[in-house]
């Protein structure tokens, strides 16, 4: 057991993969850069050589397509997009090629491609350097979508993604790079068996989130508990294929659901959580109307005060939870 930050744990995942699996290599922008990918790939090119840690021209589409091509020929490439925003230039390769390749060729072709995209927001970067859009990709059959919320998952789900024979979009979040956890040595999970996890048990409310939103839920649940509100917290982990059963069972017990998502509302993942739950539960199973806590329906602003109010924080989750369970404000001191 050792204390690992989320960022360093990602690097541990790369190190494990490239040491144990010769067919794994990484390609993308900024892999030889001191700042592009934070602490998550530091000196990998020195350790494994620039032939397996490939920095590229500013060509998202070709780089992603090339990784797909290598995946079709016996390798397990991990293509890196330092921002989700940049990856949008390559959606054709991810969504129309990789995700459909096995199917349109009869089901027998393995597509062990991992696309790693980094959510990198805040810091007054503005509208074009802030998007997450995980809902877009969770919408696509054939594409597995993973969002780790803890250091262990950051490492082990990266490993599971690379070892999976289907294309996987692995999305990590810079806001989590500093979060630490005590973890053991790397484990090779079978991604097809992974799904949402109950990370905290409670009785009055079910809090659901993925990635950084799962972290917000956990933090909020802690402070809610101190104020006598006990919550189930579910870390979604795998957004597609989405298995809602654990969430449904939880809401059946708590009767209340708050879905937190650091993305936009309309057709977003929080709405999917709510829809999946109410479809599965009989009418009358809820004690309160389910609620989602998401971004305002606006692009990301730059101006500091606007940016502060734009993003959801732990206090916002606590407030929303409190309203849902109907705890009056004054009982909160």
């Amino acid at each position: 057991m050792a204390v690992r930050s989320y960022g360093v744990a990602i690097r541990d995942g790369f190190e494990h993969l490239m040491t144990e699996h010769r067919e794994v290599f990484t390609i993308g922008q900024g892999l030889w850069s001191p700042w592009y990918v934070g602490s998550t790939m530091t000196d990998l090119e020195k350790q494994f050589g620039k032939a397996r840690v490939i920095d590229t021209p500013v060509s998202e589409l070709a780089t992603t397509g090339a990784a797909l091509g290598a995946a079709l020929c016996g390798y397990r490439p991990i293509v890196i997009h330092p921002r989700v925003d940049f990856m949008l230039l390559a959606v054709d390769q991810i969504v129309t090629q990789a995700a459909k390749w096995r199917y349109m060729f009869g089901g027998d072709v393995n597509v062990p491609l991992t696309v790693r995209a980094i959510i990198n927001r805040g810091g007054e970067q503005g509208a074009q350097h802030s998007q997450s859009l995980h809902a877009w990709f969770a919408h696509i059959p054939g594409l597995r979508v993973v969002m780790p919320a803890t250091a262990r998952d950051a490492r082990d789900l990266l490993i599971a993604s690379a070892l999976c024979d289907d294309p996987v979009l692995y999305i990590d979040d810079r806001w989590l790079y500093g979060v630490e956890e005590e973890i053991g040595s790397p484990v090779e999970l079978d991604l097809r068996l992974e799904g949402p996890r109950l990370v905290r048990e409670g009785a009055e409310l079910t809090l659901v989130g993925a990635g950084h939103s799962a972290w917000l839920c956990t933090e909020a649940a802690r402070s809610l508990a101190e104020n006598g509100v006990s919550c189930d917290v579910i870390d979604v982990r795998v957004l597609n294929p989405f298995d809602a059963r654990l969430i449904v069972d939880s809401v059946r017990r708590t009767g209340r659901l708050l879905a937190v998502d650091g993305d936009w509302t309309t057709c977003g993942f929080a709405g999917e959580v709510i829809a999946s739950v109410v479809e599965a539960l009989p009418p009358g199973a809820l004690r309160a109307s389910p609620r989602r806590l998401t971004l305002p329906e606006a692009p990301a602003p730059t101006s500091a005060p606007l940016e502060r109010s734009y993003y959801t924080n732990v206090a916002d989750v606590v407030t929303a939870a409190r309203q849902l369970v109907g705890v009056p404000g004054d009982s909160w001191e």
Binding site: T63, L68, G69, C73, Q97, F105, G106, D166, R192
Partner: protein, 356 residues
């Protein structure tokens, strides 16, 4: 660089010159002294591809085939010529017009027919139809209809081949229209930067759907892009299977020993319309009256006459082959029609991989 047996075309030329003149190159081919044995086989393969597509065209017209079919009739020499230096461990990718690529690499006629009929016995098990063909056994790793989509994928297949270190190469077949997609340029630069063994084969038939290249690009020759991206290029008469094969052999031989990209522009023309069996003039697309002349630049006839001239074929061969191949295709079609459709569970069972 130029292909040995064809007139010297400088890849840097921005226009096609004589190659674009349908009145030219009707004469029979000049055959190389070596490598003659292959040519009779090449004739047969081109004729087989054509027989398949003529059959498919008829069945599209009759309504028996419903998936969109883009026929390469008239362009067979590009596919067959490029296939000359390839081996099963190479990785070839195509696009929407890839029946000839599939046949040139040795694909089964029965599986092609079954695929366009959506049968479980098809090349893609009935999940892709004409626009999605695969035959990994013979090196065909996929053809898809998103224009330009397989170009970067082929670059990655070449990267894999380079990492394997066994001298295999990747080949990307695409059309002149695909050179207008940004991904084509990104792929050329990436291949040059990574020095991977990918052969870009542009079949320049001067049309993208209904639009002649003069309405889409300032110049008619696309090899000029290879020059800009520092990719060695050959421009050849795409209806001269000997010229195409010579360029392919030269390019591939070098790539196998010294990994790096290469580019072939094969100037050709499609006899049928963009999609289906018609010729498009029926629906008002002007082909400048060039079609009849282009039919005279027939890659099959030109090779056949050359083989007769050097005594490698008798005058009756063409007819005998035609009959033989027609029968072969007919038999495959008949079998395919009896083949089963994918089972209902295929709808959901083929999306993700099975147990590891």
């Amino acid at each position: 660089m130029v292909a040995r047996t064809s007139p010297r075309y400088d890849a840097a030329d921005t226009d096609l010159g004589a190659l674009a003149d349908p009145a030219r190159f009707h004469e029979s081919l000049t055959l190389p002294l070596e490598d003659r044995g292959w040519l009779t086989g090449a004739l047969r393969t081109m004729m087989l591809a054509r027989a398949c597509e003529e059959r498919i065209g008829d069945m599209v017209t009759s309504g028996k085939i419903r998936c969109p079919c883009h026929l390469a009739i008239g362009q067979e020499a590009a596919a067959v010529g490029v296939a000359r230096p390839l081996r099963a461990s190479d990785r070839v990718f195509g696009a929407h017009r890839s029946h000839a690529h599939y046949i040139a690499l040795g694909g089964s006629v029965r599986k092609l027919m079954a695929e366009v009929l959506g049968r479980d016995t098809g090349a893609s098990r009935g999940m892709g139809g004409s626009m999605h063909l695969i035959d990994r056994e013979h090196g065909l790793h996929g053809t898809v209809p998103i224009v330009g989509a397989t170009i970067p994928i082929a670059v990655g297949a070449a990267l894999a081949a380079k990492m394997d270190g066994r001298g295999d190469v990747a080949v990307s077949f695409f059309g002149d229209g695909a050179t207008e997609e940004g991904g084509f340029h990104e792929s050329m630069n990436l291949a040059a930067a990574l020095k991977v063994p990918v052969l870009f084969v542009a079949e320049n038939n001067m049309f993208s759907s209904h639009l002649h290249i003069s309405l889409r690009q300032p110049h008619a020759s696309v090899a000029r892009y290879a020059v800009a991206h520092d990719v060695p290029a050959w421009r050849v008469d795409g209806n001269d299977v000997v010229a195409v094969a010579a360029a392919a052999c030269e390019a591939v031989a070098r790539m196998r020993v010294e990994p790096g990209p290469a580019f072939i522009e094969a100037v050709t023309y499609r006899w049928r319309g963009h999609v289906g069996a018609r010729d498009d003039e029926d629906v008002g697309v002007s082909r400048g009256g060039d079609l009849p002349a282009w039919r005279q630049r027939d890659p099959v006839r030109r090779l056949f006459e050359a083989l007769v001239a050097v005594g490698d074929a008798d005058t009756g061969l063409l007819g005998r082959l035609e009959a033989e191949l027609k029968a072969e295709v007919e038999a495959a079609w008949a079998q395919a029609q009896g083949d089963p459709f994918p089972a209902p569970d295929a709808l959901l069972a083929r999306v993700y991989g099975g147990a590891r």
